[in-house]
Subunit: 165 residues, 2 copies
């Protein structure tokens, strides 16, 4: 007899143990390749992604999202400004703050770098029904929330270094 829970467990194991990690590895690798193509560092493309996803932000907010100190974020912004990818805009309401905004040049550069993948992905999604697309969207939403929660949890948790005799 084959228990129904057995196949489900196999599906779960395949998903969390192979498919998702395998994709995550490739995402990191792709970001690295794109960074080289654009002539900037990995951190810089991560910053551009953050700007593209969440809109303009202050250096402090960017520092949090890319796990950098505000000092290093300053240097990163310097590089991106020098590469014509972002712009510094003073905040009229709070003259300490500065808003970082992607330039059209920057948007085009990252856009063209990922155009191939987007093309392929849209192509792949052609094999899925609307119902299946909604399922994918639902999963991506939960995954995004869970990953964000885990990031926050690990950031606030103490370091484990030195806990292995």
């Amino acid at each position: 007899m084959t228990k129904p829970n057995q196949e489900r467990e196999a599906l779960l194991a395949e998903l969390v143990g192979a498919s998702v990690p395998g994709w995550a590895i490739l995402v990191v690798q792709l970001n690295n390749v794109v960074a080289r193509r654009l002539g900037v560092s990995d951190t810089d493309v991560q910053c551009l992604h953050v700007l593209g996803r969440y809109g303009p932000a202050t250096p402090g907010e960017l520092a949090k999202r890319v796990n950098l100190t505000t000092g290093s974020a300053s240097r990163m912004i310097d590089r991106l400004v020098a590469a014509d990818c972002v712009r510094r805009i003073p905040d009229p309401g709070d003259r300490r703050r500065v808003l970082i905004e992607p330039t059209q040049e920057g948007l085009d550069r990252v856009g063209s770098a990922y155009a191939g993948l987007i093309e392929r992905t849209r192509d792949d999604l052609g094999d899925f029904t609307d119902e299946e697309l909604r399922t994918l969207l639902r999963f991506m939403g939960t995954a995004e929330r869970s990953t964000a929660a885990e990031v926050r949890h690990l950031q606030s948790a103490p370091d484990d270094r030195g806990a292995h005799p």
Copy 2:
């Protein structure tokens, strides 16, 4: 009248334009947090992921998968050996080659670092039917292949630097 293709286009746009990039950003951020927790660099955790996913490999193969030169890969392996995460095993058949194998210590360290996320993800997947899980698995498979193909394509393509007057 509402055209049926209109909603589908919205689903596709949401997926490739927001959900997937949003998750990718968080994956990178999580890797960075985990790296700090383990006291190693981002590249080092990427290497550990590669070893966990594809099994033991030579320094040259690892260098390709993490986008490093063989020289930098040597140093990376030195760090991981010093951190008790991997082991160098000489290849008896070809005495030039060396096999890199994760230690139990290393497997436990990365495993515990990601245990929380795996827990959350398995929990999330509880809301999906077996059929939906198969859909997710199918998509992850295509995404993995497409991303890998795009990585190969960009790696073999010429640089775009200097193409913006």
